[in-house]
Amino acid sequence: MSRIPVSALIGLVMTGAFFFTAIFAQWLAPYGLNEAVGDVWENPFWSSEPSQYLLGTDNIGRDLLSRMIYGCQITILLATASSAVAFLTGSILGFTAAVVGGWVDQALSRLVDLFMSLPSLILALVILSVLNVTLPVLILVMGLLDSTRVYRLARAVAVDIVVMDYVEAARLRGERTGWIIFREILPNALSPLVAELGLRFIFAVLFISTLSFLGLGVQPPLADWGGMVKENKDGLVYGISAALVPAIAIAVLAISVNLVADWILNRTTSLKGGRNG
């Protein structure tokens, strides 16, 4: 453990804490998600009459701490699921394009170029304007839009591996394309893909928070952190900081995962014999 830098260690502990909260939300939260317990916007910070609730209450008097804990669960669940979708589709299609080559590769790559020529937020807004926004729809839309980035990386890595002797040998043995992808290419392409996983996860957290903030992500009665910023934003002008709590939580989660991702990225590049390795 001594070789892990301090920043990465902090990132690991914080990320672990967020995931722990997400998994055990039901047992950790003192009140229910939509249970009104106190007055509107009780403010525990710098106020003359402190609230009995640790983080105060929200715009209709629900305990903010409980909502933050449940929000953590929804945010992390959505981000994890959509990153999983992005990685499954992106890497399988990317590897297939590299192994099969020819017109399959051309067609897939040009399609990905087309999707990447647009900002994903704009494309998501266009698509979500005609769909009923439910959790599976959100996961699929975000995952598929993000899979284009994974596709690019997976294809680029796999193209280098496909020309290796051991892949040639597998082909000559008469192995199927599926075997070549999963048994020959995947194990050798794993480390750059794992390094990318952290970045995609952060992107997914920011993406879902932004969509929910715009009112097009998670719909009530469920709520994620972005949605909570939206609910409480009107209080900000009157000096009520309830909207800042979920906002800061999003930033802290993103920064912690970033610290871990940065460390993994440095490790994998130094494995490849980088200048500072």
Binding site: P119, L125, V130, L214, V229, L236, V237, I250
Partner: protein, 318 residues
């Protein structure tokens, strides 16, 4: 034909082709996905007759391909259709708002581009010493901030805690230029914060890349001052990648603007788009999506053209 002209013509043609493909994508995305526009407008309780009338009125009974070409033909003639929700002409609505959005994005770009390049040069000059580390640390933190988080934190600090600015950034035509600038100060600060980090990190990387060349070593051995080396020898050779970085981030501003406008209730394109996505007003969403896409693709093509022009090997072929 001069090879540079040919290359640029190719780029432009590619851009137009891409825009055409994007228009198909946007149209298909809103028309062919499951879900009926007429049903979405009138709600679940609509009668069969009302649905049929609305479909008739909107021309939804015609095949998708016909409607696509009608839509495209209209756009090419400046006709973006009428909004479903308030029956207003989309082109006039957008006309006013597009100006506001460009005003916001322009000032954000004017401040962030020189600042990012300056900080990037500074980080290279003091590489691996405290100014570089400080800049890197701060930028790593701001990259992890979504626009609306940065927006509300700044809003809380500067309007509530310190009362320097007003929290609402609505601008009117009757306002003077100075009043307008004062109104957009906060949203511009947020946009600058969001693009600055990325632009600065990429500028630093691009110049560091050039700094490893042999001619930089020669300049060092000649005894030139470090800043002179960076400004006179490294920077001109890093123009193409730096311009690319700048354009990519300006294109990113297009996305940032959508969220920032909602945060600060600014009457621009982004707020218009988000409002009408919630109202399921498909024609408006299509028109706005296409305009955002056109700006985004346009900036990318512009970056390509600049990097072609900045390359002397292409300008003076043997």
């Amino acid at each position: 034909m001069h090879p540079v002209v040919k290359l640029i013509a190719q780029r432009l043609a590619l851009g137009i082709l891409l825009l055409l493909a994007v228009s198909v994508l946007i149209f298909a995305g809103t028309e062919m996905l499951p879900g009926d526009v007429a049903q979405a407008i009138l709600g679940q309780s609509a009668t069969e007759t009302a649905l049929r009338n609305l479909r008739e009125e909107m021309g939804l009974n015609q095949p998708a391909l016909t409607r696509y070409f009608q839509w495209l033909w209209g756009i090419l003639h400046g006709d973006l259709g009428t909004a479903l929700s308030n029956k207003k002409d989309i082109a006039t609505e957008i006309g006013a708002r597009l100006g506001n959005t460009l005003f916001l994005a322009f000032w954000a770009a004017v401040i962030s581009v020189p600042l990012a390049i300056g900080l990037g040069l500074l980080a290279v000059r003091y590489r691996n010493r405290w100014p570089d580390k400080l800049i890197s640390g701060v930028t790593l933190a701001t990259i992890s901030l979504p626009e609306f988080v940065a927006g509300y934190i700044l809003m809380y600090l500067l309007t509530v805690k310190f009362r320097i600015f007003s929290p609402i950034s609505t601008i009117y035509d009757s306002m003077s230029f100075g009043q307008k600038l004062n109104a957009i100060a906060l949203p511009v600060m947020v946009l600058v914060l969001v693009v600055l980090a990325h632009m600065m990190r990429m500028t630093r990387a691009a110049i560091l890349n050039v700094m490893q060349s042999a001619y930089i070593e020669t300049a060092e051995l000649k005894g030139l001052r470090p800043l002179t080396i960076i400004a006179r020898h490294a920077f001109p050779n890093a123009i193409a990648p730096v311009v690319n970085v700048v354009m990519l981030n300006l294109a990113y501003l297009v996305v940032g603007v959508v969220v920032v406008e909602v945060v600060f209730v600014y009457p621009g394109m982004g707020q218009y788009l988000v409002d009408h996505v919630t109202k399921r007003d498909v024609p408006v969403v299509q028109a706005c999506g296409l305009i955002f896409a056109a700006v985004y693709i346009g900036l990318n093509i512009f970056a390509d053209v600049i990097s072609i022009l900045a390359n002397p090997r292409l300008r003076h072929p043997k």
